[in-house]
């Protein structure tokens, strides 16, 4: 049999703190052949990571493998003694975790950690192993392969660290490689190079691999076969092309439908007739302490429309939302809410100004006070802004719950009793309780599963139509923004680099950064990765990282079009193009990508 790994009828149980064991994986079987990449996909909590770890015979703290057979290289490892089983890890099978930054020991040099497993398992002496590791670094396209091992993890960038973790996993020459969401924590622009590196190294060494992810577009690039999971059970299994193009099971189809097409393939919303802006932020400069994050940012949100704000993490998107809400006072500039100048700090704003502009946060769970009932969470703004009390308040809470498609009975629950998607709906309902003119949505769908997120987006759309509320929709997910926003603002390192109606922004000419973002969004098309990975753009983008407060154009260190002597010293001019498009770039319009 050429199968490296065969799992038969695997059952894993987990125990919530203080509770009893409940099944999390309910009889899953799978096999992985030599040189094959099997992808496990499914929503969070569907058991993907648990299964992948179980293939090393390992269960996370609080979990236990309750039954089934796990055949690795022809023997059932569950029949081995714990010591013998432990000896296989880091020898025959190795593991790549989600966040390299968290998975490298901060107190040890990288090179030491990379060769630690084979050294311990007696695969060679330190010098030989280091030489092999340096070869791996080279193959993975890491800068300074000879000296990178001498560094400590904090001295290396996130994308490089992720590739170094691949080296760490491959250094023992494993027969089976387990990759658990290895690119999820990365920005789209850095993801490409890392993904390519993983794919090449797996092909190169002929290793069998299990690739865990929730991102179908990523799966399309790396997997030979796909196994779809739901609630710890297998839903469907088949070759990548078949699952992507001809899904059999209803659940798989639902997953596929929730995936949004790439931004340039979307039917963009037509810009509506110009409305008076409900938010008008002019030349905002703001930051934390001595740090200046936003510089000279201007954004308008017209009534009853959606303005999308996109950019990599750390570009100041959340800061912008906080400044508009008055949580982080601005230093320079002016914010008008519904035409009236708003005080910089929330403390100095009158209630009706506060009421008009509400904010919804990214993390649904932390945004709700765990010790208040939903009824009180929603009731408070009703009382605070509208003076509703008693019966009227209770009635209105019920109405709000219905408005966000939740049953009225939820009023008596605590946040801990709700799922992630339900919590985010409560957050939205709390904002709606104020009867606002505009809601600032900061990555409201980023922490949710694709299907759940799609539901929330649909809800946002219907609320907009029903109530005429406007959104400032902040997201790093271009596809969502493209399908939803009337206008788009592209933020980079705290500066607006491009803005205009959605349709115009997502078609050429582009600002080089917008172009990079667009071409980095993974497509469901197999082979897409090979097409983009070797472009100079992708390489340049992964070479640098966001620098806030640069002298010239903030993007100059990662831009393939950069004009040396100009871009790195002079701030770029804002060019106004037809169709109300504004681009901040030195390039002449004809030369823009």
């Amino acid at each position: 049999m050429s199968d490296i790994l065969t799992i038969k009828n695997l059952r894993v149980e987990g125990r919530p703190p203080g509770g009893a064991y409940v099944p999390i994986v309910k009889g899953v079987s799978l096999n992985v052949a030599k040189g094959e990449v099997l992808a496990l996909i499914g929503e969070s909590g569907s058991g993907k990571s648990t299964i992948s770890l179980a293939s090393m015979g390992f269960a996370r703290p609080g979990c236990r493998i309750a039954g089934g057979e796990i055949w690795l290289n022809g023997r059932d490892i569950m029949k081995l003694s714990p010591q013998d089983r432990h000896a296989l890890r880091g020898d025959e099978v190795s593991y790549v975790a989600q966040s390299a930054a968290a998975s490298f020991n901060p107190a040890l040099r990288i090179g030491k950690q990379v060769i630690e497993a084979p050294l311990w398992h007696g695969a060679g002496d330190a010098a030989t192993l280091t030489a092999t590791a340096v070869d791996l670094y080279r193959k993975l396209d890491l800068p300074n392969p000879d000296s990178v091992g001498e560094k400590f993890p904090h001295q290396v960038s996130g994308g490089q660290l992720q590739r170094l973790m691949a080296a760490m996993a491959m250094s023992c020459g494993p027969d089976l490689l387990i990759l658990d969401e290895p690119t999820t924590a990365l920005d789209v622009t850095t993801q490409i190079e890392v993904l390519k590196a993983f794919k090449d190294i797996i092909r190169d060494q002929g290793t069998a691999a299990i690739y865990v992810t929730h991102d179908l577009a990523v799966v399309a690039q790396v997997a030979d076969r796909i196994l779809v999971l739901k609630n710890g059970e297998m839903v469907e299994e088949g070759p990548t092309a078949q699952i992507l193009h001809d899904p059999q099971h209803e659940y798989t189809r639902m997953l596929m439908d929730a995936v949004r097409p790439a931004p340039h393939l979307v039917d963009h919303v037509d810009a509506s007739a110009a409305q008076a802006p409900v938010i008008s932020a002019r030349n905002i400069t703001a930051g934390y302490g001595a740090l200046t994050i936003l510089s000279d940012v201007s954004v308008d949100v017209p009534a009853a429309s959606v303005v999308g704000v996109i950019g990599e993490s750390g570009c100041g998107k959340s800061t912008l939302a906080r400044v508009v809400a008055g949580l982080t006072p601005l230093r320079e500039g002016e914010i008008r809410l519904d035409g009236k100048v708003a005080a910089p700090s929330v403390k100095d704003r009158p209630r009706d100004s506060l009421k008009d502009c509400q904010i919804v946060f990214q993390m649904a769970d932390t945004a709700l006070n765990p010790r208040q009932r939903i009824g009180d969470i929603l009731g408070r703004p009703l009382e605070f802004y509208q003076g509703l009390k008693g019966r009227a308040r209770v009635e209105k809470v019920g109405d709000l719950l219905e408005l966000v498609d939740l049953p009225r009975s939820f009023a008596t629950r605590f946040p801990g009793e709700l799922s992630g998607g339900q919590k985010q709906r409560i957050n939205l309902a709390r904002a709606l309780a104020a009867d606002p003119k505009v809601i600032l949505c900061d990555e409201v769908t980023s922490a949710l599963d694709t299907v759940v997120a799609a539901g929330v987006i649909e809800l946002l759309k219907s609320l907009k139509d029903k109530l005429g509320v406007a959104y400032m929709f902040i997201s790093h997910d271009l596809s969502t923004v493209a399908s939803f926003a009337d206008e788009v603002v592209v933020l980079y390192a705290g500066q607006v680099v491009e803005k205009g109606p959605s349709k115009v922004v997502f078609s050429p000419p582009f600002h080089p950064y917008t172009k990079l973002l667009l071409s980095s969004v993974p497509e469901m098309r197999q082979g897409w990765l090979e097409g983009v990975a070797d472009t100079g753009e992708a390489k340049a983008a992964s070479a640098g990282s966001v620098v806030i407060g640069a002298k010239g154009c903030p993007f100059a260190n990662r831009c393939t079009h950069a004009i040396v002597g100009t871009c790195d010293v002079t701030p770029p001019p804002v060019r106004t193009l037809p169709g109300e498009l504004e681009i901040a770039c030195h390039l002449p319009i004809e030369e823009m990508p």
């Binding site: 770890l53 090393m56 390992f58 996370r60 432990h86 000896a87 296989l88 890890r89 880091g90 020898d91 190795s94 593991y95 975790a97 989600q98 966040s99 968290a102 998975s103 490298f104 020991n105 901060p106 107190a107 040890l108 630690e116 497993a117 311990w120 398992h121 560094k151 400590f152 904090h154 001295q155």
Partner: protein, 315 residues
Amino acid sequence: MYRIILTRLAQGLLTLLLASIIIFGATEILPGDVAEAILGQSRTEEALATLREEMGLNRPAIVRYFDWLGGMLQGDLGTSLATKRPVADMIESRMWNTLRLALLAAAISVPLSLALGLWSAIRAGGRVDKTLAMTTLALIAVPEFFIGLILMKVFAVELKWLSASANTRPYFDFWQNFRALALPVATLSFAVIAHMMRMTRSSVINIFTSPYLEMAALKGLPKRRLVVRHALPNALSPILTVIALNLSYMVSGVIIVETVFGVPGLTRLLVDGVTLRDIPLIQACAMIFGAVYILLNLLADVLSIMANPRLRYPK
């Protein structure tokens, strides 16, 4: 890194200064003054005024403070009100007794508690760990004098193996010294060992929840290596802090132990000073203990800064 260390040293110095202000403030800005304390109940207004003049107590507090601080820095710790002897002399003759107790207890308790803490961490969840956890949990809540008295009752009064008095004589041989010091040192060690062991264990266990430890575990490394090579270096800073804290905590432990076993040490001097309200003596003793405490904490901080690769090798 040197910048950070220098800043920290400066902070330590500042704290020491603040400490001196607190000590001076607490003892001098009070109803009544040293003159009243010296003359006691039988004072006349006249005598009081003369004595105040003599001692310079009529000068403003700030001037007196700097006078006092200046004296301290030059080794002049003032004159005891009760014995009329220079405080420095009184302290000098007692210092060694206390220092010997503390050093012996430290030499035993630090390595022992580190080893026990690590052992407990390696066996986390096992029987050894659970037993140690329960024992130390109880032990940290037991007053030192109870431990001391029980030890004394069993080993000195009943079994008569060891001495109940820690008074040593210069002509004592090793065994005589051992008999005298075993009980106080053991008492002093008990409470700190329990505390340090628990903190060592929990500092290491805290690291266990981090993804890099799971990563290391999935490399197939044995537990000992995981604890010693992967968790310990990252737990160093909290462990150092705990050691410093406990060593300085010994100051309070020593007070009780010296009383129980009748050791003529520095803390007995302090307690006597407090009973007799001998202000200069209290000030001097408090400054010494405060300085030791601050120094130990400073040392722990500097060591953890030096052990942190993020600070040692900046980006």
